[in-house]
Structure formats: structure tokens, C-alpha cells
């Protein structure tokens, strides 16, 4: 019995080795990269089989090595699966279903997405989010770049000014929104008081900073002020990475400050700007805290003029328990961020090419 098995084994090995040889030859002649890679994988497989038959083990050495490696990855991967991968996949699936968290899930197809088209609150949230992004991203970028350039010069008290500019980013959102609300209080705030006393704007015409269409503008102003310090630090790092020789050479050629900025600083900062814009856009689409804190009043409820997508997702999911619909809204948000980011990546790739 043993002997028969052995001879059978060696016979198989011979067959395999022949096959191996022919494939190796094929690989040498092959020009197409894809088929070449395929053939190389085939060779690996033959090698493993031969190895297995020779050693007489069920699991080849290679497989065992792989298993050990996977077992090291497993703890992290399981965590990633449970807390990230499965929820993400589930959220995608939910967008096509109807579920309230307790009763059985039912399949809805594209109904959730059809409902979006006639939903006033969704449209308002989408509009406000887009206005907020379009306002916040360029303004924050310009403000932080300007700050970075000024504070990169040798000015007196540079460290103090940098700290001051960075401070709003570190300060608690709740605390500073309270201060903003006092400053912009519609009838008692100093801002409206100044408008009233010095600019003689009649009392009825004083701006209502936290309601109506002004609400989103207040949110934009607040965000620019709060987050410009953070992006200033990133720009500062970018500015310090630009070689001094470039400026020296430019000034020898007679380039003024503006031309230096136009032809040296700005192109040299393009990678930083790209990072800043991507981060800003994503953060802007995610806006929730600023809206609820500034316009939510005591109850945290947002009216049509202040509602944003993330708030609406929360409301639909955890107040109305319409998880499928809220996932559909979340998908819209996801797609928007994805599209904007892809466009930016493309633009950046073209610039670098």
C-alpha cells in the first residue's frame, strides 16, 4: 500500500514538473503583462503542490506561513470588520430598505431615493449645506493663507499672534458659540448696538443673525473664524518648506512681492492647498455642531433656513426611526463628498503631471 502511494506520488510530481516547465517557458515568451502575471501565479501553485507531495504534509509550508501571518492580522481586522466594514456595508444596504430598528426589514428598492425629490426639508438641508460649503471653503482658505503669510514674516510678537489665531480652534465649541450668541444677540448684542448707534440702522431693520437667510451666513463667519487657525498652521508648515533660494533668485530677477507670491509661493504650496481644500470640504459637508449650537436655540431644533444634511439624517434616524430613508440621505451626502473629492484629486493629478 505504502509503496503504491509513493509511486503514485512520484508520478504526480513528474506530471506536475512537466507542466511547470512548460508554463515557465510560456512565461518567457509571453508579452502581455496580465497573462504573464497569471502564469506566474500558476507556477507558484505548481510549486506548492509539488512541495506538498514531496513533504507528505497536508498543509504546505507556504500556507502555514500565511496562516500565521493572517492570525497576526486577525485581531485588528476583526475589530475593523465589526466596527467599520459591516456598519458601512449595512448602511449602504439600508438605503434600499425600510426599517425602524425593531420590526422586520422590508426591501424598498429605489423608493427611499424617490421620496427625496419631493421632501421640502431634505431640499432645504441640501441647499443650506451647499451654501455653507461654498461660503466656508474658499473664505477659510484665503483667511488662513493670509494669516500664515503674515505670521511667517519676522513681525514682533509673532508667537503671540500665532497663538491668538490658533486659539478659537482649541476653545470649546459650546463656550464660544455662547459668546457669539451674546455678541450677535438681535436686540441686546454689541454688534447690533453698533449698527444701531453708529450706522443709524432702524431697529426693525437690524439683522436677525440667527434666523432667516442670515443664519447660514452667521454659520459661515463663525466657522471661518474658528477653523482658520488650524489651517494656518498647516500653511505655515508649507511655507517653511519653500526654499529661500527661490525667493533670492526671484528678487535678483526683479520680481516684486506679488510676483513672488504668484510664481513661487502659490505653486509651491499647491500640495498643501490641495490637502487643505479636501479636508475643508469634507468637514463642511459634515457640519452639524455649528448649526445646532448657533441656530438650535434651547431645543436644538433647526428650522428650514438652518437645517443641514447631517442634522436631517439624525432626525430621520433617531427621532422618526426611519432608518432606511435616513440612510438614503446619508448616501446623498456620501456621493457629494465623493464627487467633490474625485474632482479635486483629478485636478491635482493634472497639475502634477
Amino acid at each position: 500500500m505504502e509503496k503504491i502511494k509513493e509511486t503514485q506520488g512520484s508520478g504526480q510530481i513528474n506530471i506536475l514538473q512537466d507542466a511547470l516547465k512548460t508554463t515557465i517557458e510560456k512565461v518567457r515568451d509571453e508579452k502581455d503583462e496580465k497573462t504573464k502575471r497569471k502564469l506566474i501565479r500558476q507556477i507558484e501553485r505548481y510549486n506548492n503542490r509539488i512541495d506538498m507531495l514531496r513533504s507528505g504534509r497536508r498543509i504546505s509550508r507556504q500556507t502555514r506561513k500565511n496562516l500565521v501571518a493572517y492570525s497576526f492580522i486577525a485581531p485588528n481586522f476583526i475589530g475593523f470588520c465589526v466596527f467599520t466594514l459591516i456598519p458601512i456595508v449595512f448602511a449602504f444596504a439600508l438605503a434600499f430598505m425600510n426599517w425602524d430598528g425593531s420590526n422586520p426589514v422590508s426591501f424598498e428598492g429605489f423608493n427611499n431615493f424617490k421620496r427625496l425629490a419631493s421632501d421640502t426639508f431634505f431640499k432645504a438641508a441640501l441647499k443650506n449645506t451647499i451654501i455653507y460649503c461654498v461660503g466656508t471653503v474658499p473664505l477659510t482658505m484665503i483667511a488662513s493663507l493670509a494669516l500664515a503669510i503674515v505670521l511667517n514674516q519676522k513681525v514682533i510678537g509673532r508667537g503671540i499672534f500665532r497663538t491668538i489665531a490658533f486659539f478659537p480652534y482649541v476653545a470649546s465649541l459650546v463656550a464660544i458659540t455662547s459668546v457669539w450668541k451674546m455678541l450677535f444677540h438681535p436686540s441686546k448684542g454689541p454688534v447690533n448696538n453698533i449698527l444701531f448707534t453708529f450706522f443709524h440702522i432702524p431697529q426693525d431693520a437690524l439683522p436677525q443673525w440667527f434666523s432667516g437667510s442670515l443664519c447660514v451666513i452667521s454659520m459661515i463667519l463663525f466657522s471661518v473664524w474658528k477653523y482658520m487657525g488650524y489651517y494656518m498652521v498647516i500653511y505655515l508648515a508649507g511655507l517653511q518648506g519653500i526654499s529661500k533660494e527661490l525667493y533670492e533668485a526671484a528678487s535678483l530677477d526683479g520680481a516684486g512681492t506679488w510676483n513672488q507670491f504668484r510664481y513661487i509661493t502659490w505653486p509651491q504650496l499647491s500640495a498643501t492647498t490641495f490637502f487643505v481644500v479636501v479636508m475643508l470640504t469634507i468637514n463642511c459637508f459634515k457640519v452639524y455642531d455649528v448649526a445646532v449650537m448657533l441656530a438650535g436655540g434651547g431645543s436644538g431644533e433647526l428650522t428650514v433656513s438652518a437645517t443641514v444634511l447631517v442634522y436631517y439624517i439624525y432626525q430621520k434616524a433617531f427621532i422618526d426611526w426611519d432608518l432606511g430613508y435616513s440612510s438614503a440621505v446619508a448616501m446623498v451626502l456620501f456621493l457629494m463628498v465623493l464627487i467633490v473629492t474625485i474632482i479635486q484629486f483629478r485636478g491635482q493629478a493634472r497639475k502634477e503631471a
Partner: protein, 461 residues
Amino acid sequence: MKKKVISLVLSAAMIASLLAGCGGAAVESAPATDVQEVAEAVQEEAPAPEPEAAAEEVTEEAAEPVTLKWAIWDESTTQYWGDIKAAYEAKNPNVTIEMVDLGSTDYMTVLATELSGSGSDFDVVTIKDVPGYATLVQKNAIIPLDDYISADGVDLSKYAGATDQVVVDGKLYELPFRNDFWVLFYNKDIFDAANVDYPTNDMTWAEYDELARKVTDTSFGSQIYGAHYHTWRSTVQLCSVLDGKHTILDGEYDFMRPYYEMVLNQEADGVCRKYTDLKTEGLHYSAAFSGGDVAMLNMGSWFIATMLTNLASGEYDPSLCGNWGIVKYPHAEGVEPGSTLGTITGLSVTSACDTPDAAWDFVKWVSGEEGAAVMASSGNFPAIMTDEVKTAITGLEGFPADDASKEALNVANLYLEVPYGENVSEINSILDSYHGSIMTGEMSIDDGLAAMSQEVSALLK
């Protein structure tokens, strides 16, 4: 390729183990019933002994310890939770009530999350508002109590019609133990100083408006506001449902117009604080009233207990608001005085509860007469209003001594702020949102009401 396969296998194995974890409980319960059945069979087979043994068994069963997990809010600042627990445990020594405080701000949201899926271990939950109640009913998280009610002969007429307004498809899922109704608080000192008669228990809204304007003083530095409306929708919009002809579930909201007009005109004339100001500074109604510059405040009866405690403790300055009184809510022309808004707080048994009979007994006790007595002892309004309860509350230290204030506690018709209806949670969100839009002036009253009607009727279709 291989890596992909292995990662797939890994994730598949994980999902399988997850499923196995979920299924575990169901599998486990099967042998348990087996054991029970066997035990019962053994008992049956055993020669029926003396009646003595049987009696012993009964007492043993009665003494079997039960723990009921009860969801509540604000345990440290609300006295009655502890009172109820103590009183019930004293009466039922085998029952332990375990209170879990979920906080009051988003209590119903947290509760709905807790009761989602099958992992919940709450037995009795407090129902804070009707939209949240509707959510729990739709999620099948709480059980109908009708069988228990008819078996134990609970008389629902004691609740003066409040329970009829939360019936879902002919079934009742909660019993109220606390019932707050809206009254008009007023500051007597302000009326005395302005030499104006006090509000009465029989006022129409027009008379109320006139009175508010009479005591208002808009001169800078010594402003007196004739009225105050908290930022809740109820304070303005729900005055309109008190004629008994309309509810917020109608889908057509033009009937709310007079009340929005009244309040916005008052705002424009400085009779009350501006909604946008209140929203921005987050001024609480209690701070507004205790500040001594508000003549009249429409608010729920829960504020009575707040006034009593805070005046006694010295937190409110008695020289500013110590001389206060209450009268019945103003009423629409041609409607019986004493029609008012109400809010019930109820108890429900969860569908996940292992001991529904014990949980029901607790619910029945708290919402019954004995529970009512416990509630009244701390100045709160129980769902069952008896004369004793009224005497208990009006007899509390610091309660306004005039007869009108005592008479104000007699309610003729009680309309829930939110009666049960399908989609009530969504309707509530829509009305809240447009209420904000109207009050901040983002939308005209016409546009706001039209938008409400349009959105809600689309939902009701």
C-alpha cells in the same frame, strides 16, 4: 487572489459567529422549559401531600423575589420617583424596583434606542410624550394593556378622557400616573402697581390680550411684559385646539392664525419678549417669570411645584415674584372656561419583560389611587384628580391663598398637547419647524401655515 479568499472566509466566519451569538438565547431557553416541564411532571406524579404543603408553596411563590427595571429621568431633582419606589417596595416586599436614569433632555430618543432590537432588559418604562409613545408602539417595544385592564377591572373613566386620546387601533399601551394641565400664572404685584384688576377664571383670549396690554410698560429700564411665551410650540400654537373642534393632526392649520397674529402683534408692541431673543439667549420661562417683569405666563401645572420649592429655598426672590396666583387658561369665544391643554406621563410594560404580571401590578399601583396620593404629597398632579388630591395640593405651604387660584385647578375639558395619531412624530417635527419659521419672521403667518398644511397633508395621504 488567495488573500481575498482568506479575508472573505474570515469575515464569513465572523458573521457566522455573530449570528450564532444572536441565536444563542433562543437555543438556551428551550432546555430551560424542558427542565421546568420535568419539574412540573415530577410534582404532579408525587403523591399529593397534605394541604399544608400546598399552602407553603403558595407563600413561597408570593415571596419569590422580582426585580423590575424602570426607566426614568432626573432622579436627583425629581422627588416622586424615589417616593413611588419606596412606597411600592414597602407594600410588596418581594419586589425590588431598580431605577435607571436616562436624563430628561432626550429621554424618549435614548429610550427608543435602548428598546431597539432584542437586547433590552427594561421591564417598565416611563412614557414622557406622545410622539415617543407612538414610536415605541410602532416598534412593538411595549405591550397593549387591555387584557390586564379588563381582567383587573381598572376603571379608565378616572382618567377623565386622557387615555382615550392615546388609544392605538383600539388598544391602550400606557396608563398615565401624572397629568399636567396648563394654567395662567400671574404676578399680583405687577397688577397692583398698574392698578389693574387681576386676571379671572373666565377670560376669553381677547380679554386676556387686552389685559396683557394694559399692564405692559415699554419705557426703557423699567420694562414690564404683559405676557410671556416660552419658545415651545405649545405656548402659541396649541391655544387654538382648545375649542375642541381642531387637533394638530388635522392637516389643515388655518385655525391657528388668530393666535399667531395675537402673539406676533404683542411682540411687535413690546407686550412680550421676542421669540428670536429668547431663542438666542435660551432664557428659561422660570427665569423670566421669577425675574419679576412678567405679568402673565401660560405654563403647565408642573411650574406650581417649581415655584413652591424655589420660593421656599430662596432661589427665587419673593419680592420679585413671591406674590403670585394662577387662573384657568383663557378660552375661545363660546367655549366653556376651564378647557385646557394637558400632558400625561404614563407607564408601559415592555415586550421584553420576563415578568409582565409583576410589571403590570406596578403600573396599576402607580397609576391608581395609592400612586396618586404619593404624587400629590410632593405637589405634583397625578392622573387621577380627586378632591383629596386637590385639597392636598392647595393646602401645600406657599400655594396662593386666594379662591380663584384654588378654583383654577378644576379642569372642564382636557386636550392633550399631542393626541395619538399615525405619523405623529413626523407631524410634530414639521409643525415645530414651521412654528420656528413663523415666530422668527422667516415666513409670514400665511406662508407658514400653508407650508404646515401642505407638508402634513402630504404625510397623511
